[in-house]
Subunit: 727 residues, 2 copies
């Protein structure tokens, strides 16, 4: 396996996509895979995890740091910069084994050819550091300038977030302190530059009105390349009270580019030692799944133990850098089985943000914990009541993601339980986990309604996973998840009682569990979960079957504008059976053991042709469910769709007038789920892990490592054999 992707499209149009596909990151930051000379127009960004700001009425979004990698060369006074200045040769490549972005570009100038080669990495050992190596060579004598700056004219969606920038310099080090307009936060960035080679050189601190840059004036000769090595550092007030001092301290250390790169590579070697997938018989699938895992590892929180993963990873400010149900339902499993400490951080993030969830429930008149739909720091819900812009009127549209997508709390509860089950680590139950699950159950309890004419508990006025149908009653997924959350709460309390009597006592005082849990027990079996109809199909919600039954293509044909929103009150899909993404299918995948294979298959067959797959969360659920009823070849194209979500790039770029591009961690994590839990059939049972394997045609061997309850295993699957080897 080559562990390499390449691209030689340097057009203006390709820049956003390349930014995602060639991203490097280390969990602290994601550096979009744009070129050294790129800036705001090409969506260059050093996107920071877990620090947010809100300007006026705009959306609250994560910060992009001033960009310390910005490097531009000038030949005879003219900038050699893609895409404006066309190159005669260009290739951009990513070594996704060691997480190193490379580029090589040759421009023709009147005097001769100029070639730039560079490498970049986000240090996996030192999360605040970035390394960059930038080499220039010429094939004829000429005057070259290199501009090495900390670019503060950065890409921001709802900015400007900085209202004051201070530059300073210390020997070879440039510093920049950016003051966030909220008056509280600061972002400090530094760049230590070392230039080497045979050319004459001198440096100036400023050029014109532009601060924060070194400019190297060079007389270059053929065969005498010049290399600029930069070690950059980023700190914020989230990390240190004085982030600039921290940057200065970091850069005053004698960091050698090569030495940093070596330890960075070792760190990735370790990640892959446990985290890669071996696959024989399908090189494309093998490459895509590992490329997906590369991206997950770039954004996994390791520098703190209380962060989770945003829906667009660290690929920018799209989706507000917020944590969605994607994290628990699609991303968690990979880390749970291969890097449990990352999974623990993700679960802790939710436990820590319980106060925000309690507050949110209260604000709507509910009880318990209603988690943020788009969770930012402290559990603040970044989701606006107006999350889509109407393409026709340019007005914000009232959406109900924030207030009606109540299934989010169940995803959180599930994550706590799954983490506890698979790792055997019950400590989080005592540290707020049991309380979290119970408060999620209390939330659903407070949503339950009973009709005067009925004897079952229903949940009304929600949005299920399929967001195109708003404010529906008895969404099968939501009701089932709510009922299970109630059962989990009972189970969590029992586990806590067994494992930690003191914590349990405290939990009872905090939650009044001994009064509430018996009520919950009495109620839980009367919560209505829609049953299969006479055709074996579970209606997605009350009245779904009465909607117009048409095709995805027909619905697409009705669009008047390609960017218009399919959902909402009047969307082209809203009053049809066409759905955005797996909904009943997600429910059946989650609880496949409760249904016959025939029911699983019938629902798959019914819903798949009616699904737009307009979300990157859809394909993997279809793939998983097809594995559950023993059809890996039916699953295969959906697995590939999920595994290639970022490999191929593209994808849905717009929801109304809102840009939603970026990487797709849920699809990446979903692809691993299909591979490990679908094709290999890994499942945690009370008797330990088992495999129910079913490989697609042509696959000769799948192998991966995983960890359960502190023990490491290796899954080895061949077409006719599946084995778990304890390591």
């Amino acid at each position: 396996m080559q562990w390499l992707i390449e691209n030689n499209n340097s057009s203006k149009e390709a820049a956003p996509d390349n930014g995602n596909r060639f991203l490097v990151g280390n969990g602290y930051m994601g550096i979009r895979g744009t070129l050294d000379e790129h800036g705001r127009d090409q969506l260059a960004a050093v996107n920071l995890a877990g620090i947010y700001d809100r300007v006026g009425d705009g959306w609250r979004e994560p910060l992009n740091a001033p960009n310390p990698l910005h490097t531009v060369i000038y030949a005879e006074g003219k900038a050699l910069a893609l895409p404006e200045m066309e190159a005669v040769h260009h290739v951009q490549s990513l070594d996704f084994y060691h997480a190193i972005l490379m580029r090589k570009t040759t421009w023709k100038t009147p005097k001769g050819a100029v070639t730039v080669e560079s490498r970049r990495f986000a240090d996996m050992v030192h999360p605040h550091l970035i390394g960059q190596e930038f080499t220039v060579s010429v094939d004829a004598p000429m005057e070259i300038q290199i501009l090495a700056e900390i670019d503060t004219d950065i890409w921001e969606i709802y900015g400007p977030h900085y209202n004051k920038i201070e530059y300073s310099r210390e020997n070879d080090n440039l510093y920049c302190l950016a003051y966030v307009q909220n008056g509280r936060d600061q972002v400090a960035v530094g760049r230590k530059c070392r230039i080497s080679g045979q050319a004459d050189q001198n440096d100036r601190f400023e050029r014109g009105e532009k601060a924060g840059a070194f400019i190297y004036d060079l007389h270059m000769e053929p065969g005498k390349p010049v290399t600029l090595k930069s070690v950059c550092a980023v700190y914020t007030t989230n990390d240190e009270a004085e982030p600039l001092a921290a940057v200065q301290a970091a850069l005053r250390e004698e960091h050698d580019f090569e030495a940093l790169l070596d330890t960075h590579k070792e760190a990735w070697d370790k990640i892959w030692a446990v985290g890669q997938v071996e696959l024989e018989g399908d090189d494309m699938a093998r490459d895509c799944i590992n490329y997906s895992l590369y991206h997950l590892n770039c954004i996994a929180p390791r520098h703190r133990n209380d962060l989770s993963i945003p829906a667009r990873g660290l690929s920018g400010q799209t989706y507000k850098g917020a944590v969605f149900w994607d994290s628990e339902m699609f991303i968690l499993d990979y880390f749970l089985y291969t890097q449990p400490e990352v999974a623990k951080s993700m679960v802790r993030y939710r436990i820590d943000t319980l106060p925000g969830a309690l507050e949110k429930a209260k604000s709507y008149g509910w009880q318990g914990a209603f988690y943020a739909w788009e969770s930012q720091e402290g559990g603040y819900d970044g989701c606006s009541d107006y999350n889509v812009t109407d393409v026709f009127t340019k007005r914000p549209m009232r959406t109900f993601f924030r207030d009606k997508q109540v299934h989010i709390s169940a995803a959180v509860a599930r994550a706590v339980m799954l983490y506890t089950d698979v790792t055997g680590d019950v400590s989080l139950l005592a540290k707020g986990g049991a309380r979290t699950v119970l408060e999620c159950a209390r939330f659903y309890y407070s949503l339950l309604v009973k009709r005067a004419t009925g004897d079952r508990w229903e949940i009304h006025d929600v949005i299920g996973p399929d967001e195109y149908h708003e404010r529906v009653n008895n969404n099968a997924y939501t009701n089932k998840m709510a009922a299970e959350t109630c059962r989990w709460a009972i189970k969590a309390a029992e586990k806590l009682k067994e494992s930690d009597g003191k914590a349990y006592a405290e939990f009872c005082v905090q939650t009044n569990a001994e009064e509430f849990l018996p009520k919950l027990s009495q109620t839980v079996n009367s919560i209505y979960v829609p049953e299969p109809n006479e055709s074996g199909v579970i209606p997605q919600f009350d009245g779904y079957a009465d909607l117009e039954d048409t095709t995805v293509q027909e619905v697409r044909n009705r669009l008047l504008d390609p960017r218009e929103y399919w959902g909402g009150a009047y969307g082209v899909a809203s009053h049809t059976q066409v759905i955005k993404q797996a909904d009943v299918v997600t429910m059946l995948e989650m609880f496949h053991g409760d249904y016959s294979q025939e029911i699983l298959r019938k629902n798959w067959d019914y819903y798949e042709p009616r699904t737009e797959h307009g979300s990157s969360l859809s394909a993997c659920m279809y793939a998983l469910l097809a594995c559950r009823f023993g059809e890996p070849d039916q699953a295969y194209p959906f697995f590939m769709k999920s595994a290639q979500a970022d490999w191929l790039g593209g994808g849905k770029q717009w929801a109304g007038l809102v840009y939603i591009g970026g990487t797709h961690p849920a699809a990446e994590g979903g692809a691993w789920k299909v591979l490990a839990e679908g094709f290999a059939g890994l499942e945690w049972t009370d008797n330990g892990p088992i495999l129910r394997a079913c490989l697609p045609k042509g696959w000769k061997r799948v192998a991966f490592r995983f960890c359960c309850r502190g023990k490491w295993y290796r899954a080895e699957v061949e077409p006719d054999a599946a084995e778990i080897i304890e390591l």
Copy 2:
């Protein structure tokens, strides 16, 4: 009082408004007040009560008959027709005491002036007949042609409803039989023409390809006018199996225009003898209120005892000729107190359409009777799920009037109870009335939900009277009306038991009342009705107070298109506290006895500035409530707005791209309610009628007749005295 309105605006733009304002009608049909020569472009129509048709997927709407009044004159071969051919003098007038439309128009021609004078009435004695008198005079000799035809090229909104027309002729009589495209119905129209005067005359049956017309060629001289008198007849298959034969029989009778006119006038004399309002001190108010009552009398069903009044009367096909809650809540009272037999017909219409209401409830999974929001024949709900057209996309918008405006059934129940109470006629209770009320209660019972965390019954996901806020929970008006409906059901059953044991036994078998009513009694006092908050204001629904608090003007300023719909999911008003019409105020008016005057006033003060009054049902409720807290001068402008709704013309013409023009019976009836029940304070109590009068400034005397429990009374109100005189 003159009982006359006039207008000399004959422009193209004025025609639709004049059509409403100068309408004549007799309950069987409404003839729009367009001119003799007008046709489809001027919205000429002979609109028929209680007969509907639906073409393809268009809206089901009432039929307009072929127009037998169409009369055009030609001078020297050139048509003298407004608005194309401008007149030197034109006046159109309506004697609204005797319901006679008149016009006088003079055109200049190269040869000299030609004057047309005409009169028209919809016969109040013979509901199938129309009289027309058409006189031509000249001031110089010239050749004149009169085209007298049955115009079949008629105005239709969702037509064409006729797929075959047959013309025939018999002496002076023209006949036209129009086959409705549903294959079931026919509409027959006849016109008997008598021409008189000194001119030469001959008639031809056809001219060119145009059938169904007489053409009179006349050589006319000054001082020798020619008069064409027409008696027209209309029958449909709703009236007779062979409507053409019925038309022929009617026109073969020797009907004399003058004699018909005389008996027509006598009939109106009798109507006004009991139905008019005497008012001294405010001539404008006096004229407007009686003009409103004129309109009500034009559309009151008298030829059948099972019809009600559509929301736009008989002024055309707008609002689909459908019966709304307007009939029971705004129009009923006038007839109840002055022509109880008309009120009885209106109530019977609802009792007769109970099967449709039961069916509708069932179709939504509810129990009991869910009355049609836009009720057509047989209780068919003409309301579409897509009742508004988006001005930006031209797409139909999913609206919830049909399925969520559940308060309609309460209005029906109230009508049955009010009719029984005020007339003392309990016979309707036995003839389905008690069952109707009980099934309405059963409907609300089936809507009730209780939260797991609550102990009260709530009603969710409705639209209240204010249609701009869709799918709300616990709308105060709806919940209160639902609770009262439950109480009415209990009361209706008791009354029936007392008055008619046999009918009661049958009722119990039909409705299973003896099992249901005890359940209802247990429940009714736990139905949640929102209470005044600390400021004394009753929130219109859950969460109303959290909406943006802004002004009607600000909301209007946000319109991008003057025709765009303010409500729906994304309307300019939808997410603000701005409401379309009286909602809480309507509830308080209905149940003013349950609240202190202070509460009434505080809610009036809160809601009025937030009310668009975008419905003609709004102003009268504000006027009534102001009377309830003793502020007749505060009520006065709202009373005038209601009383002048059709007097002034204009009004809201568009809901999205749907034309909604026409007359406003609810405003007319509402105006009478304000006058009689507000200013004069008429109220039925168990001890008989009482007056709680409060006249506006300047009013010297108000007097009107009314009937309660079979006895006739006269209300006499002066600023300091109010008296009920038994007649």
